[in-house]
Structures are given as C-alpha cells and as structure tokens.
C-alpha cells in the first residue's frame, strides 16, 4: 500500500513538473518588404536571423527551461509579465537560462525589457496548452521606420510623446506578404476548432476586426474582464496577450485587419500593413 502511494505521488510529480527545453537567439537585421524597410531585433529559433520572433509551444502543466543566447550588439534581458521580471541581463554573446512555469493555459508574451529590445521588436509568443487544436500565431507590431532606424543606430533620444507609426506588421510581415506566412494565414474547415495566439508587441492599441465570424476570447492577460466574450472586433492594448478561439460555421475567404485604418497601409500605401485572412473550406 505504501509503495503504491509513493508510485502515485511520483506519477503526479512527473506530470506536474514535466520539463521542456527551448533555445532562442537574439539577432538584429533589416526587414525589406516592398516599400517597407525596418530595423528589428528578433528572438530567432535558430542561430541566425529569422524574420518572425520564435513561437514557443508548451503543453499544459509543463515547465519551460528557456535558454537565451545573445548574438546582438547590445545587452538584453528576458521578461514574461507576472513571471519573469526585467531585473536580469543577457549580455552580448552571453547565454542565460530562464525557467517559466505558467499557472494557467493560454497566450503569453516574452520580450526583451531593454530599450533596444522594446523599441526594435524583440517580442514573441508562448502558447501554453491547446496543442491538439489547429494553431495560428499573430504577433502585432507597429513602428515608425525613421524612428526605428534611429534606435538601431543609437541616435534616438527616447520614445517620442507624439508617436506617428508608418509600418504595421503581423509576425514582422506586412500585407500582402502576410498571405504567405503560414503562422498567420489561417486555414481550416467548417466546424474545426481553431486557436489563434495573438500578442501586441507594438506601442499602440490594435483593434482587430474579423470578417465573417465572431471569436471567443479564450485567454487574456491584461483586459481580463473580456474573458469569454464573443467578439468580431477586439482591441489589444500594448503588451496584451490573447487567445482567440474560432469555430467557423461557414466557408469562405475573409480578411482580418486592424480597424484603425492608418494601420492597413505600408508607409502610406493602401492596402498593406496589418491585414491577414481566414481561408475556411467546407
């Protein structure tokens, strides 16, 4: 009996403390998409620059051991709101391990808490749970291309009070390039359960409008009073992390875009910016 009890305990402890390991690399580069040229710093899943910040998936109950390797030219840190504070440093060419043990499922945001990191888009998605569903990821980002260049070359004097962004991206892609990004371009069938992990890595709210469907707010970190609301237009304030659940009830091709209509442009050209699509088959 005693041995059985110990075995059960061991079994439970192994479930509760399952360790997963992941590594991300900080790199900087310049994005060129049509008339958009933007300096960014990105958490890459491989040891070279990748346009989109790494997406990290975990099962419910797992503990993430995240290794951050800094290949950038300035120091960074790692922050996960409510879990890992910004009082750490990942120096240039340094490697630092972090532990993230979430207490709930849903979307989380990890990011660099340093000025260069914050102002150049080093910010990514962690999705906890929902691994058996059809998953997509929208990392929203906005910037002024001139200001980003100044941050990148060190001449910026701080973030301006009067912010006037010119570039709007999903996963660091602008429309129509978003349509070739398999992370953000949603495909599925009528009746599927689709989850979309969405964070706002930018500096302004983004009011996402879904054509064709309402989505349920399955998890939300900041505007928590909206949990389980069914919405066709959902504002993500800066730093927000949300999980949308979509069960399509009709087939069709529908846009999703920010309804602040300066954001559906690429440095002024329409259409562009923060637009992607839902492609739902019968």
């Amino acid at each position: 009996m005693k041995n059985l009890f110990i075995a059960i305990l061991l079994c439970f402890s192994s479930i509760s403390f399952t360790q997963v390991f992941d590594t991300v690399y900080l790199y900087r580069d310049t994005i060129h998409q049509g008339n958009v040229i933007l300096n960014v710093v990105s958490f890459s899943p491989v040891d070279s620059f990748v346009t989109t910040n790494a997406v990290i998936n975990m099962d419910a109950g797992e503990t993430l051991n995240l290794t951050v390797i800094n290949r950038d030219t300035v120091d960074h840190s790692l922050v996960i709101d409510d879990y890992i504070e910004s009082n750490n440093s990942v120096a240039v060419n340094d490697t630092v391990d972090f532990v993230f043990q979430p207490s709930e499922n849903g979307t989380f945001r990890y990011y660099s808490g340093t000025d260069q990191g914050k102002y150049l888009g080093a910010s990514g998605i962690i999705l906890v749970g929902y691994q058996n569903y059809s998953r997509f990821y929208w990392n929203l980002y906005d910037h002024n291309d001139t200001l980003a260049s100044e941050f990148a070359n060190g001449t910026a004097t701080g973030f301006p009070t009067e912010y006037r962004p010119s570039v709007f991206l999903i996963n660091n892609y602008t429309f129509p390039h978003t349509l070739t990004d398999t992370l953000s371009y949603v495909t599925g069938n009528v009746g599927d359960t689709i989850v979309i992990a969405c964070i706002n890595s930018g500096y302004m709210p983004h009011s996402l409008h879904f054509h064709g469907y309402h989505v349920r707010i399955e998890s939300v970190r900041k505007r928590t009073h909206t949990l389980f609301w069914d919405k066709d237009t959902y504002p993500l304030i800066p730093g927000e992390a949300v999980l949308f659940r979509l069960i399509p009830d009709q087939e069709g091709m529908y846009p999703v875009h920010d309804h602040n209509l300066i954001t559906v442009t690429n440095t002024g050209a329409y259409p562009g910016g923060m637009i992607t699509r839902l492609n739902i088959q019968p």
Binding site: R164, M204, S207, H214, D230, T233, Q250, Y254, G268, P271
Partner: protein, 392 residues
C-alpha cells in the same frame, strides 16, 4: 465578373427565410456638410434611393433597423463616379456579401447589386464602404445597423427598456475632406474633427435626437458604435447607472456597471442606463489618438430631467444641488441632513401628489415612510431634491 456577381446575388433572395426587409440605398460623392465652426467641407456617403435626382446622402448614413430573424436585401445603387461597396460589419455575412473588393467584389460606377443576408443576433452593428477604406471612411461612408428583439427586451431574457438612444462616433481629417483628390499618405490621417451621429459641439446640444431629456422611470438603451480612427472614452455621470449587456452583437457573459467605457475603432456596445436621481449633467465622449493616447477631441451629450414631465408645484433650480438621503432604497424610514431650521421637506409621488410635507429643524432628521407603497418618489428639501425608492 461583375455581372456574374450580380446574378449570384440576385439568386440569394430566394434562399431568404422569414420576413424579408428591403432597403434601397445609393452612394454619392458630391455632398457637403457644414461643420460646427461653420466650415463647409465635402463628404461621400450613402442615402436612400429616390426618384428625386437631388436626393442627398447623409453623414452618417441612414440608420438601418431590423428585427432578429429578418432576412434582408439591401438594393445598392452606386450613383457615383468611383467604385464602392457595403461591408456589413459584424453581421457575419457570407463571403460574396461581405463587401470587400479583393475577396467579394466592388460595385462600379452606376452599377446596382443586391446584398442579401439574415440577421441572427440582436445588437449594434455598422456598415461602411470597404473600397480604399482608409480614405472612404474619413470621407464619411458609414452608418449604424440596429437589430432589435422585436419587443421591448434587448434580447430574449434580457432587460427591458422604454427609450433608446443610438450613438455612432466618427471623425475626419478636414484637410482630406477638403481635398480628397490629394489625401496625402494614409498613415498620416489623424483626425481633427470629431462627431457624434455627424454632429459636434453645440450641434449636439441643439439636436433633440442626441440630447437626453429623461423621465424618472426611464430605462434607456444606449447603442454605441465607433467607426472613428480614434478610440472613444465614454464618461457617464454618477447619477446615471449604466450597465453593459452586449458587445459586438453578443451578450457579455457577465453584465457589468460602467462609469467609463472605452470603445475602440469598429467596436460596439449596448448598455442600459437608469437615472438614480434628479440631475442635469453631460455624458462626455473623449476621442483618443490611437497612436499616442492623447485626447484630441471631446463631445458632450446633455442629459437632464424632461422639463415637460415636471408637473410638480416645485420647479427644479438651474443649479442642481442633489440632496443626500439614506438609506435609499428605504423601507420604513429615511434620514436626511437638514442644514437650516424651518426647512421645508416634501415627498412627492410620480403623479406629482404631495405625500409627505413637513417643516424640519437643523440636524439629522428621520422621516417615517411606513405608509408609503413601494415605488419611486421625489424628495424636496427647500431648493434641493433627489429621488427616493421605497422597497417593501
């Protein structure tokens, strides 16, 4: 291709079920509007079709009202020199009726099409042009859609109301409307004129459909939509209990009281507002810049007790100084703080009958209400007044 779309769309009405509502809209691009400061500028918009060639379009477009379960056909005639569409924002229509040129189709100059759909949920919705949207919205091509429950409930099992006020916030950058052929870079569209149902500033005070003259027993529904580039922050006075029941045409899981309400571009809310006293105040609507959060504009909606409803001996002073009583709701008594000797207190029922009349001395005084039936009363103490609820 346009003809094929037209044929497909004209087939759809045969698939409609239930009561079919027909709406005949047109778009035009030759309208002007006088702003609150007297400046006249251009707008593009929708209006009802008419045999009158001079029929105007309006800013905002006509409010469309349907009942839950209705099948709707919007007969749209593009009476303008450029492409337009109608996007039915939030109604979850099928792809061909979605009004997006790249995934549906555009309606060319002088073309006519039918948009067919069924409204399945009560609530507040929008419609707008989805052609070159960054320009066509600031030019004014938008309106509100209301889907009612067909009775005096917000939705099946939802709260009842007896009056309704529908508010659509929008904005424009005047330089763009003044010269839409040279709008400049679209990411530089920062509004400098802010509207509520197309009105601003004093125009709102002068519009009896916007200002609120409430009656004491009113339960008002506020339908709020935001089609602006700005987000709007609604600030309600303390004397108005506002409870939010719906957002984007769906019931929120738990209704909630709101003294302020943020409404971001494209969002809608439906709320019930009940006055908790006699007051005269304003609902403030702040227009917040989405990029840096600054407040770029403010409009105010006046709200006061309907003067025509006051058939009392007393008339309310212009400078209202609400009277505080407690408990309220009360059962067998309430207390009131009297500041002067020989103060005159009256309790008046909803029909204007004086139920209690007393002369009171300075201090905290107790007024017995054992003989009063449950209901709403007015309490007057000299020139001050408030509303009393008796609950037994």
């Amino acid at each position: 291709m346009r003809r094929i779309c037209f044929i497909i769309l004209t087939i759809f009405p045969f698939l409609l079920i239930g009561q079919v509502e027909h709406v005949y809209l047109q778009s035009k691009m030759d309208a002007t509007i006088t702003l609150s400061d007297g400046h006249q500028t251009n707008f593009w918009g929708y209006g009802y079709q008419s045999t009158n060639p001079n029929a105007r379009v309006t800013l905002p477009a006509p409010k469309l009202v349907f009942e839950k379960g209705d099948s709707v056909v919007i007969h749209f005639y593009n009476n303008s020199p450029e492409d337009h569409t109608i996007h039915l924002h939030g109604l979850d229509v099928n792809q061909v009726n979605d009004g997006v040129p790249s995934t549906s189709f555009a309606v060319g100059s002088q073309d006519s099409v039918n948009y067919s759909f069924r409204v399945s949920h009560t609530g507040t919705y929008l419609y707008h042009c989805h052609v070159l949207t960054s320009l066509h919205l600031t030019m004014g091509m938008y309106g509100m859609i209301v889907v009612t429950n067909g009775d005096d409930h917000l939705y099946d099992g939802g709260p009842k109301y007896n009056r309704e006020f529908d508010y659509l916030t929008s904005d424009m950058k005047r330089a763009v409307n003044d010269n839409p052929l040279s709008p400049g870079d679209f990411f530089h569209i920062y509004a400098d004129y802010f509207m509520l149902n197309g009105k601003a500033d004093q125009q709102i005070f002068d519009d009896t459909t916007l200002s609120i003259d409430y009656r004491p027993a009113d339960t008002m529904v506020f339908r709020i939509g935001n089609i602006a580039y700005s987000c709007t922050k609604w600030i309600f006075p303390d004397e108005l209990d506002v409870t939010v029941y719906q957002s984007d045409g769906r019931e929120v899981p738990v209704s909630f009281q709101a003294d302020t309400l943020m409404v971001y571009p494209g969002e809608r809310f439906t709320a019930i507002a009940i006055p908790n006293g006699i007051f005269q105040d304003t609902i403030e609507v702040e227009y917040c810049n989405m990029s840096d959060g600054s407040t770029d504009g403010v409009n105010k909606i006046p709200i006061r007790l309907d003067p025509a409803h006051l058939s009392l001996e007393e008339t309310l002073s212009e400078e209202l100084n609400p009277l505080k009583i407690f408990p309220n709701p009360a059962e067998n008594y309430f207390k009131v703080e009297v500041q002067d000797d020989q103060s005159k207190l009256k309790v008046v029922d909803m029909q204007g009958r004086i139920i209690i009349q007393k002369s009171l001395d300075k201090g905290i005084q107790t007024i017995r209400t054992s003989d009063l039936e449950s209901g709403v009363y007015f309490v007057f103490l000299n020139s001050r007044q408030t509303q009393l609820v008796i609950s037994k």
